[in-house]
Symmetry: C2
Subunit: 136 residues, 2 copies
DNA sequence: TATAATTCCTCTAGCCACTAGAGCTTCAAG
DNA sequence: CTTGAAGCTCTAGTGGCTAGAGGAATTATA
């Protein structure tokens, strides 16, 4: 049996975050000590590790809810898991694409030879999207 | 003089967002009609366009506050503007790097030949970071 | 000019995924 | 048995908006 602090140390999930996941229904309410403190089992530990890793990989809490549900049903086909992952991959890729467009513009902007604000390329570009090379 | 709706159409910033920017102190409180409705000048329009474009480029509201302040002082050196932009560029680049690591892992994960959850690579990987190739 | 349609007003609350803090209780070591 | 760490609940704040209620003002049409 682990206290919430031990669980936190082992998973790297902060204590208030563990309680938040409980409130969100991602983890079951654990047993309590006589004095009402949470006591977790190994199952609780591995479930939280799953959540932690999924968050690290950028899945939303909603996605994780679905993935956890699936993981409780080993006999089911895994196509649902794949579509959650594929959708997430797409999201990540479109975020990357957007950030790369930003990166390009920001790199261009920061090549400013002027010394004062009146002629600064940064300020000028922010004031006028027409000076940009791409859409965003 | 523009109404808030006209300003919104010209800049592409939604009406509640304009009011939000006013509340946050990014734009001055505009004059009002006899019936208390906001009336904007061309100056208000260009200030809001500046904000819009800066947001599109991913700058935070705090950054924009600084950039707007600078843009009101054309005689100042533009080094402050450059450091805001450079910092932002760094942020963008580290976000890209992080997302690319995610992308790689997600691509790997989604190569699953199993048909059911019990043997699914997606679920297995989420349960065990040891199966990952990179840190995240 | 009367009425109808549209726009605008303020205020509050919700989104996501946490994070911080107040004020109190329980636990574990010595 | 005392003390200090760790736990409890509850509320509120983060960023950058967005939605909705309930009412007032403006504009367009008849
Ligand atoms: Zn410059
Ligand atoms: Zn632009
Ligand atoms: Zn699979
Ligand atoms: Zn991993």
């Amino acid at each position: 049996m682990f206290s919430i602090g031990q669980l936190s140390k082992r998973t790297g999930v902060k204590i208030p975050t563990i309680r938040y996941y409980e409130q969100m229904g991602l983890i079951d309410e654990p047993e309590r000590s006589e004095g009402n403190q949470r006591r977790y089992t190994k199952d609780g530990l591995s479930r939280l590790s799953f959540i932690r890793h999924s968050r690290d990989l950028g899945f939303s809490v909603e996605d994780i809810r679905g993935l956890l549900d699936l993981s409780q049903h080993p006999e089911k086909p895994c196509s649902d898991a794949h579509s959650i992952a594929a959708q997430h991959l797409q999201d990540v890729q479109s975020r990357i694409a957007k950030l790369r467009r930003l990166e390009r513009e920001l790199k261009r902007i920061t090549k400013c030879d002027a010394g004062n604000v009146a002629a600064c390329a940064v300020i000028e570009t922010l004031a006028d999207h027409g000076l940009c090379e791409t859409e965003h």
